[in-house]
Protein backbone atom coordinates (compact mmCIF):
# COMPACT_ATOMS: atom_id res chain seq x y z
CA UNK A 1 0.00 0.00 0.00
CA UNK A 2 1.50 3.31 -1.12
CA UNK A 3 1.67 5.90 1.66
CA UNK A 4 0.90 9.49 0.67
CA UNK A 5 1.14 12.81 2.49
CA UNK A 6 -0.87 15.69 1.05
CA UNK A 7 -0.04 19.38 1.61
CA UNK A 8 -2.53 22.21 1.23
CA UNK A 9 -2.74 25.85 2.29
CA UNK A 10 -5.21 27.34 4.77
CA UNK A 11 -7.92 27.60 2.12
CA UNK A 12 -7.53 24.09 0.73
CA UNK A 13 -7.57 22.64 4.24
CA UNK A 14 -10.84 24.42 4.99
CA UNK A 15 -9.75 26.97 7.60
CA UNK A 16 -10.46 30.19 5.75
CA UNK A 17 -9.03 32.52 3.20
CA UNK A 18 -6.65 35.54 3.45
CA UNK A 19 -7.72 35.99 7.05
CA UNK A 20 -6.01 32.71 7.92
CA UNK A 21 -2.88 33.18 5.80
CA UNK A 22 -0.71 33.49 8.91
CA UNK A 23 -1.68 30.07 10.25
CA UNK A 24 1.20 28.00 11.54
CA UNK A 25 1.80 24.49 10.19
CA UNK A 26 -0.47 21.72 11.40
CA UNK A 27 -1.69 18.32 10.30
CA UNK A 28 -4.58 15.85 10.34
CA UNK A 29 -4.67 12.14 9.91
CA UNK A 30 -6.21 11.06 6.65
CA UNK A 31 -7.38 13.10 3.64
CA UNK A 32 -9.22 16.43 3.68
CA UNK A 33 -10.65 18.75 1.05
CA UNK A 34 -9.16 17.92 -2.33
CA UNK A 35 -7.40 15.01 -0.61
CA UNK A 36 -10.72 13.19 -0.47
CA UNK A 37 -10.96 13.39 -4.25
CA UNK A 38 -7.38 12.13 -4.58
CA UNK A 39 -8.19 9.27 -2.21
CA UNK A 40 -11.22 8.42 -4.32
CA UNK A 41 -8.94 8.08 -7.35
CA UNK A 42 -6.42 5.98 -5.43
CA UNK A 43 -8.99 3.44 -4.23
CA UNK A 44 -7.05 0.80 -2.34
CA UNK A 45 -3.81 1.33 -4.23
CA UNK A 46 -2.67 4.18 -1.98
CA UNK A 47 -3.70 5.90 1.21
CA UNK A 48 -3.33 9.52 2.28
CA UNK A 49 -2.13 8.92 5.81
CA UNK A 50 -1.65 12.57 6.72
CA UNK A 51 -2.66 16.00 5.49
CA UNK A 52 -0.27 18.86 6.29
CA UNK A 53 -1.44 22.47 6.05
CA UNK A 54 -0.06 25.97 6.66
CA UNK A 55 -1.01 29.55 5.94
CA UNK A 56 0.55 30.95 2.74
CA UNK A 57 2.18 33.84 4.62
CA UNK A 58 3.63 31.51 7.22
CA UNK A 59 5.00 29.16 4.58
CA UNK A 60 6.73 32.00 2.74
CA UNK A 61 7.77 34.40 5.49
CA UNK A 62 8.86 31.74 7.99
CA UNK A 63 10.11 29.41 5.31
CA UNK A 64 12.77 27.63 7.37
CA UNK A 65 10.42 26.93 10.24
CA UNK A 66 7.72 25.82 7.82
CA UNK A 67 10.05 23.42 6.03
CA UNK A 68 11.64 22.02 9.21
CA UNK A 69 8.26 21.33 10.73
CA UNK A 70 7.02 19.66 7.57
CA UNK A 71 10.13 17.51 7.37
CA UNK A 72 9.60 16.37 10.96
CA UNK A 73 6.27 14.90 9.96
CA UNK A 74 7.67 13.36 6.81
CA UNK A 75 10.56 11.84 8.76
CA UNK A 76 8.16 10.24 11.18
CA UNK A 77 5.59 9.00 8.68
CA UNK A 78 7.97 7.92 5.87
CA UNK A 79 5.60 8.42 2.92
CA UNK A 80 6.33 6.93 -0.51
CA UNK A 81 5.16 10.03 -2.35
CA UNK A 82 3.91 13.56 -1.65
CA UNK A 83 1.05 15.53 -3.15
CA UNK A 84 0.91 19.33 -2.94
CA UNK A 85 -1.95 21.63 -3.89
CA UNK A 86 -3.28 22.01 -6.50
CA UNK A 87 -2.31 25.67 -6.07
CA UNK A 88 -3.81 26.88 -9.39
CA UNK A 89 -2.55 30.42 -9.99
CA UNK A 90 -2.12 31.24 -6.32
CA UNK A 91 1.52 32.37 -6.21
CA UNK A 92 2.44 32.04 -2.52
CA UNK A 93 0.62 28.69 -2.38
CA UNK A 94 2.57 27.44 -5.41
CA UNK A 95 5.89 28.55 -3.94
CA UNK A 96 5.04 26.85 -0.65
CA UNK A 97 4.19 23.61 -2.49
CA UNK A 98 7.38 23.74 -4.53
CA UNK A 99 9.66 24.53 -1.60
CA UNK A 100 8.20 21.70 0.46
CA UNK A 101 8.56 19.11 -2.30
CA UNK A 102 12.10 20.28 -3.05
CA UNK A 103 13.21 19.96 0.57
CA UNK A 104 11.60 16.54 0.92
CA UNK A 105 13.38 15.32 -2.19
CA UNK A 106 16.73 16.64 -1.00
CA UNK A 107 16.45 15.34 2.56
CA UNK A 108 14.62 12.06 2.11
CA UNK A 109 14.61 11.35 -1.61
CA UNK A 110 10.80 11.30 -1.55
CA UNK A 111 9.28 12.29 -4.92
CA UNK A 112 6.36 14.72 -5.07
CA UNK A 113 3.62 15.97 -7.41
CA UNK A 114 2.32 19.56 -7.31
CA UNK A 115 -0.48 21.22 -9.23
CA UNK A 116 0.35 24.63 -10.73
CA UNK A 117 -1.82 27.00 -12.76
CA UNK A 118 -0.29 28.42 -15.95
CA UNK A 119 0.86 31.67 -14.32
CA UNK A 120 2.05 30.24 -11.05
CA UNK A 121 5.62 31.39 -10.19
CA UNK A 122 6.10 27.99 -8.58
CA UNK A 123 6.67 26.57 -12.08
CA UNK A 124 9.76 28.62 -12.94
CA UNK A 125 11.12 28.29 -9.43
CA UNK A 126 10.51 24.61 -8.71
CA UNK A 127 9.69 22.68 -11.88
CA UNK A 128 13.07 20.93 -11.72
CA UNK A 129 12.57 19.83 -8.13
CA UNK A 130 9.21 18.11 -8.36
CA UNK A 131 6.73 16.85 -10.94
CA UNK A 132 4.38 19.72 -11.78
CA UNK A 133 0.97 19.10 -13.33
CA UNK A 134 -0.47 22.04 -15.22
CA UNK A 135 -3.93 22.83 -13.90
CA UNK A 136 -6.47 25.49 -14.78
CA UNK A 137 -6.07 29.01 -13.45
CA UNK A 138 -8.70 28.82 -10.71
CA UNK A 139 -10.15 26.34 -8.23
CA UNK A 140 -13.15 25.72 -10.47
CA UNK A 141 -10.88 23.44 -12.49
CA UNK A 142 -10.25 21.23 -9.45
CA UNK A 143 -12.04 18.21 -10.88
CA UNK A 144 -9.78 18.05 -13.95
CA UNK A 145 -6.64 18.28 -11.84
CA UNK A 146 -7.35 15.18 -9.74
CA UNK A 147 -6.66 12.32 -12.14
CA UNK A 148 -3.39 13.63 -13.64
CA UNK A 149 -1.93 14.46 -10.22
CA UNK A 150 -3.08 11.28 -8.54
CA UNK A 151 -2.10 9.06 -11.45
CA UNK A 152 1.45 10.36 -11.49
CA UNK A 153 1.63 10.10 -7.69
CA UNK A 154 0.72 6.42 -7.92
CA UNK A 155 3.52 5.81 -10.43
CA UNK A 156 6.08 7.61 -8.33
CA UNK A 157 4.88 6.05 -5.11
CA UNK A 158 5.14 2.63 -6.68
CA UNK A 159 8.80 3.26 -7.47
CA UNK A 160 8.33 3.75 -11.21
CA UNK A 161 10.36 6.32 -13.13
CA UNK A 162 8.00 8.43 -15.19
CA UNK A 163 8.48 8.63 -18.93
CA UNK A 164 9.00 11.83 -20.91
CA UNK A 165 6.94 14.86 -19.96
CA UNK A 166 4.90 15.00 -23.14
CA UNK A 167 3.79 11.39 -22.68
CA UNK A 168 3.12 11.49 -18.94
CA UNK A 169 1.58 14.95 -18.95
CA UNK A 170 3.76 16.74 -16.40
CA UNK A 171 5.43 20.12 -16.94
CA UNK A 172 8.76 19.58 -18.79
CA UNK A 173 11.60 20.10 -16.34
CA UNK A 174 14.34 21.02 -18.78
CA UNK A 175 16.11 17.67 -18.53
CA UNK A 176 16.66 16.18 -21.98
CA UNK A 177 17.71 12.53 -22.01
CA UNK A 178 18.45 10.14 -24.84
CA UNK A 179 15.65 7.83 -25.87
CA UNK A 180 15.99 5.09 -28.48
CA UNK A 181 13.07 5.30 -30.91
CA UNK A 182 14.37 2.76 -33.44
CA UNK A 183 13.17 5.15 -36.14
CA UNK A 184 16.01 6.93 -37.87
CA UNK A 185 16.22 10.70 -38.02
CA UNK A 186 15.88 10.45 -41.81
CA UNK A 187 12.45 8.84 -41.44
CA UNK A 188 11.28 11.28 -38.75
CA UNK A 189 12.57 14.33 -40.64
CA UNK A 190 10.82 13.26 -43.85
CA UNK A 191 7.58 12.65 -41.94
CA UNK A 192 7.80 16.07 -40.31
CA UNK A 193 8.48 17.79 -43.65
CA UNK A 194 5.55 16.02 -45.33
CA UNK A 195 3.22 16.82 -42.43
CA UNK A 196 4.14 20.49 -42.59
CA UNK A 197 3.60 20.84 -46.35
CA UNK A 198 0.30 19.00 -46.14
CA UNK A 199 -0.98 21.20 -43.33
CA UNK A 200 -1.20 18.23 -40.96
CA UNK A 201 -0.34 18.10 -37.30
CA UNK A 202 3.38 18.11 -36.44
CA UNK A 203 5.48 18.85 -33.38
CA UNK A 204 9.07 19.97 -33.20
CA UNK A 205 11.37 17.62 -31.28
CA UNK A 206 13.43 20.52 -29.95
CA UNK A 207 11.55 23.66 -28.89
CA UNK A 208 13.56 26.84 -29.10
CA UNK A 209 15.29 27.97 -25.93
CA UNK A 210 15.13 31.56 -24.79
CA UNK A 211 18.07 32.70 -22.68
CA UNK A 212 18.07 34.82 -19.51
CA UNK A 213 19.11 38.44 -19.74
CA UNK A 214 21.88 39.94 -17.63
CA UNK A 215 21.72 43.64 -16.76
CA UNK A 216 24.63 45.45 -18.44
CA UNK A 217 27.18 46.94 -16.03
CA UNK A 218 27.49 50.74 -16.02
CA UNK A 219 29.97 52.17 -18.53
CA UNK A 220 33.46 53.21 -17.43
CA UNK A 221 33.67 56.77 -16.22
CA UNK A 222 37.18 57.27 -17.55
CA UNK A 223 39.04 54.75 -19.68
CA UNK A 224 42.35 56.48 -19.05
CA UNK A 225 42.13 55.53 -15.37
CA UNK A 226 40.84 52.00 -15.85
CA UNK A 227 42.62 48.66 -15.48
CA UNK A 228 41.78 46.41 -18.44
CA UNK A 229 42.24 42.65 -18.46
CA UNK A 230 42.29 40.31 -21.46
CA UNK A 231 40.18 37.18 -21.40
CA UNK A 232 39.76 34.68 -24.23
CA UNK A 233 38.07 31.40 -25.08
CA UNK A 234 40.56 30.90 -27.89
CA UNK A 235 42.58 28.36 -25.92
CA UNK A 236 45.95 30.17 -25.78
CA UNK A 237 48.12 28.53 -23.10
CA UNK A 238 51.82 28.52 -22.21
CA UNK A 239 53.98 26.17 -24.27
CA UNK A 240 53.68 22.69 -22.85
CA UNK A 241 50.08 23.21 -21.75
CA UNK A 242 51.04 22.88 -18.06
CA UNK A 243 47.46 22.78 -16.81
CA UNK A 244 46.20 20.33 -19.46
CA UNK A 245 43.68 22.64 -21.10
CA UNK A 246 41.34 20.40 -23.10
CA UNK A 247 40.91 20.88 -26.84
CA UNK A 248 37.20 20.12 -26.76
CA UNK A 249 34.42 20.15 -24.16
CA UNK A 250 36.67 21.93 -21.67
CA UNK A 251 35.71 22.57 -18.06
CA UNK A 252 38.51 24.82 -16.84
CA UNK A 253 40.02 28.29 -17.03
CA UNK A 254 43.42 29.52 -15.88
CA UNK A 255 45.11 32.89 -15.33
CA UNK A 256 48.57 33.16 -16.91
CA UNK A 257 51.06 35.89 -15.98
CA UNK A 258 52.22 38.08 -18.84
CA UNK A 259 55.45 40.05 -18.93
CA UNK A 260 57.02 42.37 -21.44
CA UNK A 261 55.07 44.06 -24.19
CA UNK A 262 53.55 41.17 -26.13
CA UNK A 263 52.78 37.45 -26.11
CA UNK A 264 56.10 36.12 -27.37
CA UNK A 265 55.58 33.75 -30.29
CA UNK A 266 56.98 30.36 -29.38
CA UNK A 267 56.23 30.76 -25.68
CA UNK A 268 52.58 29.79 -26.19
CA UNK A 269 50.52 27.13 -27.87
CA UNK A 270 46.83 26.81 -28.71
CA UNK A 271 44.37 24.17 -27.49
CA UNK A 272 41.05 24.54 -29.33
CA UNK A 273 39.23 22.15 -31.66
CA UNK A 274 36.97 24.71 -33.30
CA UNK A 275 39.16 26.87 -35.49
CA UNK A 276 42.34 26.77 -37.57
CA UNK A 277 44.89 27.69 -34.95
CA UNK A 278 48.11 28.09 -36.93
CA UNK A 279 47.91 31.90 -37.30
CA UNK A 280 47.37 32.41 -33.58
CA UNK A 281 50.17 29.95 -32.76
CA UNK A 282 52.49 32.05 -34.94
CA UNK A 283 51.38 35.28 -33.27
CA UNK A 284 49.29 34.82 -30.09
CA UNK A 285 48.56 38.57 -29.91
CA UNK A 286 46.08 37.88 -32.72
CA UNK A 287 43.85 36.24 -30.12
CA UNK A 288 45.01 38.01 -26.95
CA UNK A 289 46.01 41.55 -28.04
CA UNK A 290 48.45 42.22 -25.20
CA UNK A 291 50.84 44.13 -27.46
CA UNK A 292 48.14 46.66 -28.30
CA UNK A 293 47.00 46.85 -24.69
CA UNK A 294 50.53 47.63 -23.44
CA UNK A 295 50.98 50.30 -26.11
CA UNK A 296 47.69 51.93 -25.10
CA UNK A 297 48.84 51.86 -21.48
CA UNK A 298 52.09 53.63 -22.37
CA UNK A 299 50.17 56.16 -24.42
CA UNK A 300 47.90 56.85 -21.43
CA UNK A 301 44.76 55.83 -23.32
CA UNK A 302 44.06 53.23 -20.64
CA UNK A 303 45.10 53.34 -16.99
CA UNK A 304 46.71 49.92 -16.72
CA UNK A 305 47.10 46.72 -18.71
CA UNK A 306 46.47 43.94 -16.22
CA UNK A 307 49.54 41.66 -16.51
CA UNK A 308 47.63 38.38 -16.83
CA UNK A 309 45.50 36.72 -19.46
CA UNK A 310 42.60 34.51 -18.46
CA UNK A 311 42.39 31.52 -20.79
CA UNK A 312 39.58 29.16 -21.56
CA UNK A 313 38.89 26.90 -24.53
CA UNK A 314 35.39 27.15 -25.91
CA UNK A 315 35.25 24.39 -28.52
CA UNK A 316 32.15 22.19 -28.02
CA UNK A 317 31.74 23.60 -24.53
CA UNK A 318 28.58 23.44 -22.47
CA UNK A 319 26.94 26.80 -21.97
CA UNK A 320 26.35 26.26 -18.25
CA UNK A 321 29.98 25.27 -17.72
CA UNK A 322 31.11 28.40 -19.52
CA UNK A 323 28.69 30.49 -17.43
CA UNK A 324 30.30 29.08 -14.30
CA UNK A 325 33.78 29.85 -15.63
CA UNK A 326 32.67 33.38 -16.46
CA UNK A 327 31.37 33.91 -12.93
CA UNK A 328 34.61 32.59 -11.42
CA UNK A 329 36.70 34.79 -13.72
CA UNK A 330 34.59 37.78 -12.74
CA UNK A 331 35.16 37.16 -9.03
CA UNK A 332 38.89 36.66 -9.62
CA UNK A 333 39.26 39.86 -11.62
CA UNK A 334 37.28 41.92 -9.16
CA UNK A 335 39.67 40.80 -6.43
CA UNK A 336 42.54 42.00 -8.60
CA UNK A 337 40.88 45.42 -8.96
CA UNK A 338 40.32 45.06 -12.70
CA UNK A 339 37.73 47.52 -14.03
CA UNK A 340 36.83 46.04 -17.40
CA UNK A 341 37.50 43.09 -19.66
CA UNK A 342 38.13 42.68 -23.37
CA UNK A 343 37.02 39.15 -24.24
CA UNK A 344 37.95 37.67 -27.61
CA UNK A 345 35.79 34.83 -28.88
CA UNK A 346 36.08 32.63 -31.97
Amino acid sequence: MIKVIHYMNQFGAGFGSEDKADMALGSFDGPKGAGIAFQGFFGDRAVIVKTIYAGDNYANEFKEDFLNEAMEIIRAVKPDVLLAGPAFNSGRYGLACGSLLKRAKEEFGVPGVAGFGPDNPGIAEYKKDCYGILTGAAANSMRQAIAPMAGLALKLGGGETPGPARQEGYIPRGIRLNVYTGKSSAVRATEMALARVAGQKWETELPRVVYDKVAPPAPLADLSKATIALVSEGGVVPLGNPDHMETNNSTKWRPYALSGDELTPGAFEVRHGGYLTQDVTKCPDRMVPYDALRTLEKQGIIGKAHPEMLSASGSMANLSTMQRLGREMGIYLKQKAVDAVLLTAT
Binding site: P219, R286, T346
Partner: protein, 71 residues
Amino acid sequence: MCVTALYNVAVQIGTNRIVMSGSKFHYPMGRPDLPPEDEKEWRLRQTRATLAILEKPVEGVTVFTQQDLFP
Protein backbone atom coordinates in the same frame (compact mmCIF):
# COMPACT_ATOMS: atom_id res chain seq x y z
CA MET B 1 32.79 43.25 -23.63
CA CYS B 2 33.13 40.60 -26.30
CA VAL B 3 34.96 40.86 -29.61
CA THR B 4 33.91 38.19 -32.09
CA ALA B 5 33.43 37.58 -35.79
CA LEU B 6 30.23 35.59 -35.15
CA TYR B 7 28.02 37.99 -33.29
CA ASN B 8 24.76 36.03 -33.66
CA VAL B 9 25.65 33.52 -30.96
CA ALA B 10 26.64 36.28 -28.52
CA VAL B 11 23.31 38.00 -29.28
CA GLN B 12 21.29 34.86 -28.59
CA ILE B 13 22.87 34.16 -25.23
CA GLY B 14 22.44 37.75 -24.10
CA THR B 15 25.93 39.29 -24.16
CA ASN B 16 25.44 43.00 -23.64
CA ARG B 17 28.41 44.70 -25.32
CA ILE B 18 29.36 42.90 -28.53
CA VAL B 19 31.92 44.25 -30.97
CA MET B 20 32.09 42.72 -34.43
CA SER B 21 35.68 41.81 -35.21
CA GLY B 22 37.13 43.30 -38.34
CA SER B 23 38.65 39.96 -39.26
CA LYS B 24 37.91 36.23 -39.39
CA PHE B 25 36.92 34.10 -36.46
CA HIS B 26 40.28 32.26 -36.41
CA TYR B 27 42.04 35.49 -35.41
CA PRO B 28 39.57 38.12 -34.17
CA MET B 29 42.36 40.59 -33.39
CA GLY B 30 44.71 39.54 -36.18
CA ARG B 31 45.27 40.24 -39.86
CA PRO B 32 47.82 37.70 -41.08
CA ASP B 33 47.19 38.90 -44.62
CA LEU B 34 48.90 42.22 -43.79
CA PRO B 35 52.64 42.83 -43.45
CA PRO B 36 53.64 42.50 -39.75
CA GLU B 37 54.07 46.23 -39.06
CA ASP B 38 50.72 47.06 -40.70
CA GLU B 39 49.05 44.28 -38.73
CA LYS B 40 50.34 45.70 -35.44
CA GLU B 41 48.99 49.14 -36.48
CA TRP B 42 45.64 47.58 -37.33
CA ARG B 43 45.45 45.76 -34.02
CA LEU B 44 46.31 48.89 -32.06
CA ARG B 45 43.59 50.88 -33.82
CA GLN B 46 41.05 48.09 -33.34
CA THR B 47 41.86 47.64 -29.62
CA ARG B 48 41.69 51.36 -28.98
CA ALA B 49 38.33 51.78 -30.74
CA THR B 50 36.96 48.63 -29.06
CA LEU B 51 37.93 49.78 -25.56
CA ALA B 52 36.30 53.16 -26.23
CA ILE B 53 32.98 51.25 -26.30
CA LEU B 54 33.38 50.61 -22.58
CA GLU B 55 32.60 54.28 -21.93
CA LYS B 56 29.26 54.05 -23.77
CA PRO B 57 26.10 53.11 -21.87
CA VAL B 58 24.01 50.27 -23.29
CA GLU B 59 20.52 49.11 -22.40
CA GLY B 60 20.80 45.47 -23.24
CA VAL B 61 22.24 43.37 -26.03
CA THR B 62 24.05 45.76 -28.36
CA VAL B 63 26.18 44.94 -31.38
CA PHE B 64 28.82 47.48 -32.40
CA THR B 65 29.86 47.10 -36.03
CA GLN B 66 33.12 48.29 -37.58
CA GLN B 67 31.22 51.40 -38.76
CA ASP B 68 30.30 52.11 -35.14
CA LEU B 69 33.94 51.82 -34.11
CA PHE B 70 35.20 54.01 -36.95
CA PRO B 71 32.38 56.41 -37.97
